[in-house]
């Protein structure tokens, strides 16, 4: 199979949909139509490709991890999204959405952010295109990611703390949606993952398929079998994972998403509806959404993109969980063996490889290195003393 377009109602199997306040329904419909039209327009594609190449620095390379592979007995390849401008895969989606917003005549972007990577990318695209930008970020996350807060401000964005609930990513999404309800006439909601109401899960995936396409071509040259045995990535909302999965969904490669144990929507959730979508969701016995707890602000989210719920339910991808302690170990190991300091998010995927190395012995694993670790160094300094 290859990853297909969602149904008319925006569903991947039973998941997805468009559960938004009535005020936003016309905006979502308009966005769907505009994206469909732009994505079929070669001029739009060319403009985006040029930005991805000349501004974001694509294509990103694949790095073979010789020392790490030797230590683990597993051949590990990294898709280096950490080398993109702004330091993560988030720029792929944001450049696409900002271009689209401009094409739709919007003058303002609103975004949510967890670790700050999507916020920084949004602020960057807004600066590049001369748009206003407001980023909502959980108060707790603003503390643990102070560096990214400063970067967003430098880039000219306004950063607003989300003070309700758990004061993390989930609440930042609520605040961004509330802002959008009030400003929908001139504002585009630049959602940062493959989640939210239709068309976001589909549109954001399409903007990240560049990761999968490049990886597929690169693997074809690099590997004798052309296809890795396993493709893995961390999953919060799941945008970097869906991006790299998209290049291998129609192959024999096993697809493995790795969730934080404290925010494992697929692993520990049941179907629910929040933030405009039906998907696996961590909730209590009454359907109240539970707070996620993860060392990584970017994965601290109780839900997951609906296409991941679908891929899990049909068995095309499987989802593993790792603990904060395992992530800390992986973070250090990659730094030491390869000279690459990973963001805490992709360190989750590596943590799974480390734990399951016996089962993976002799296999080739492609890991999406979705972001660099600079933003996490201060937090790790405190943890490691």
């Amino acid at each position: 199979m290859s990853l297909s377009e969602p149904s008319a109602s925006g569903r991947f199997g039973e998941f997805g949909g468009r559960y938004v306040p009535e005020t936003l329904v016309p905006a979502c419909q308009e966005l769907e139509a505009a994206f469909r039209e732009a994505w079929a327009d070669q001029a739009f594609r060319d403009e985006l490709d040029a930005l991805l190449a000349d501004y974001a620095g694509r294509p990103s390379p694949i790095t073979e991890c010789h020392r790490l592979s030797e230590e683990l007995g597993v051949r590990v390849l990294l898709k280096r999204e950490d080398l993109n401008h702004t330091g993560s895969h988030k720029i792929n989606n944001v450049l696409g959405q900002a271009l689209l917003a401009k094409r739709m005549g919007k003058t303002r972007l609103v975004a949510e952010t967890g670790a700050g990577q999507h916020g920084v990318a949004s602020a960057t695209a807004a600066a590049l295109m001369g748009m206003e930008c407001k980023v909502f970020m959980g108060e707790v996350d603003m503390e643990r990611q102070a560096l990214n807060v400063f970067r967003m401000k430098l880039l000219g964005a306004e950063v607003v703390p989300a003070m309700s609930g758990s004061r993390t990513l989930k609440d930042a999404v609520n605040e961004a949606m509330r802002d959008w309800v009030a400003t929908v006439e001139n504002t585009h909601y630049c959602l940062g993952s493959v989640m939210g109401p239709h068309p976001y899960p589909w549109m954001v995936r399409e903007f990240h398929t560049v990761i999968g396409k490049e990886s597929r071509e690169q693997c074809a040259k690099l590997l004798e079998n052309e296809i890795p045995d396993v493709v893995t990535a961390c999953v919060g909302g799941g945008s970097n994972a869906i991006g790299i999965f998209s290049g291998f969904a129609d192959t024999t490669a096993e697809l493995v998403g790795v969730e934080p144990a404290g925010g494992a929507a697929v692993g520990r959730g049941v179907p629910g509806v929040v933030h405009g979508m039906k998907s696996y969701l961590m909730q209590d016995e009454f359907g109240q959404v539970q707070e996620a707890h993860s060392i990584s602000a970017g994965l601290d989210y109780p839900g997951v993109g609906p296409e991941h719920s679908h891929l899990s339910s049909i068995g095309r991808a499987r989802y593993e969980q790792v603990t904060d302690a395992e992530v800390i170990e992986a973070f250090q190991l990659l730094s030491r063996t390869e000279g690459i300091i990973p963001a805490l998010e992709p360190a989750h995927a590596l943590a799974w490889i480390i734990r399951d190395r016996a089962k993976l012995a002799g296999k080739t694993v492609l890991l999406n290195m979705s972001g660099r670790g600079d933003k996490d160094v201060a937090q790790m300094m405190e943890i490691l003393g």
Partner: protein
């Protein structure tokens, strides 16, 4: 679009042609010349919330919307967010709120306002039945727009729960009649672009949406979101059949004004409506 929704089994059932109990009550009051006032009270906020409900009914609310608190109230502004958070912290759940509601004889029709996940999680049939058993006759689910309402409405209609649809200023002309046709109880006109909360002045958009709706339906049209006091209630009810007041009331309850303060405020709004 609707053809392909049907292909997916997402049929939106036509609303029953006969008005339900809740709507009949509002219609008969309206037809007698009265401007309608619906008050919103967060269920489970402080032990005294049943007294707040009774006080508000006694003070002249024609129906009451009970908010079943949800963890992520995306259509609500700061006041109702705070009220919901406090109630949840006090241990409120759909079960505790409905259990208590069953014991309140307010003497006016009761609706609930909550978010779809609580209904989805419990199961549509079970949720609709438990609302009815608690004396509730209408439901407002602001994150369940027309295209998604089918599975819920299929369970709610036969269970005697009237699903109130929201009509927003952003809806194009071709959309409004479809929203109105599916709405039962009343039509909830969203007064402005934004979430619930008090505003210094009545938004011009509330009169525009009320006018657009009154032109196409004889169902009761009530404006909510941004109607904050008696004067604004009277102003918007020049066009609409009445209004919903939530945040302005809950600000007083959160501040500890109790049933007496809540009742006094609703009496004030009632008087302004009656004088208009």
């Amino acid at each position: 679009m609707s053809a392909s929704l049907a292909d997916e089994g997402l049929v939106i059932p036509d609303a029953p042609t006969e008005p339900g109990e809740f709507e009949r009550s509002l219609r008969s009051l309206r037809d007698s010349g009265r401007k309608l006032l619906v008050a919103y009270v967060t269920g489970g906020l402080h032990d005294e919330w049943p007294d707040v409900v009774r006080a508000v009914a006694d003070a002249g609310a024609d129906a009451i919307e009970i908010g079943i608190p949800f963890s992520d109230p995306v259509m609500d502004g700061p006041i109702i967010q705070e009220a919901s958070e406090l109630a949840l912290r006090d241990g409120a759940s759909p079960v505790t709120v409905l259990d208590t509601l069953r014991t309140i004889d307010a003497g006016v029709p009761i609706a609930v306002m909550t978010y779809y996940n609580l209904a989805f999680h419990m199961g549509h049939e079970r949720f609709a039945a438990s609302l009815y058993e608690a004396g509730v006759r209408a439901a407002i689910l602001p994150d369940l727009p027309l295209e998604e309402v089918g599975p819920w409405a299929t369970a709610a209609d036969p269970a005697g729960i009237e699903t109130v649809m929201l009509a927003a200023p952003t809806a194009p002309d071709e959309r409004l009649p479809r929203v109105v046709a599916r709405s039962r109880g009343f039509v909830y006109a969203v007064g402005l672009l934004g979430v619930t909360g008090e505003r210094d002045e009545l938004a011009a958009s509330s009169l525009v949406i009320a006018r657009r709706l009154k032109a196409i339906t004889d169902k009761p049209v009530l404006v909510g979101v941004g109607v904050s006091n008696g004067q604004q209630a009277a102003e918007v009810s020049q066009v609409a059949d009445g209004c919903v007041i939530g945040s302005a009331l809950m600000r007083r309850v959160v501040a500890g004004e109790g049933p007496a303060g809540a009742g006094a405020f609703i009496a004030e709004v009632r008087a302004a409506l009656d004088a208009s």
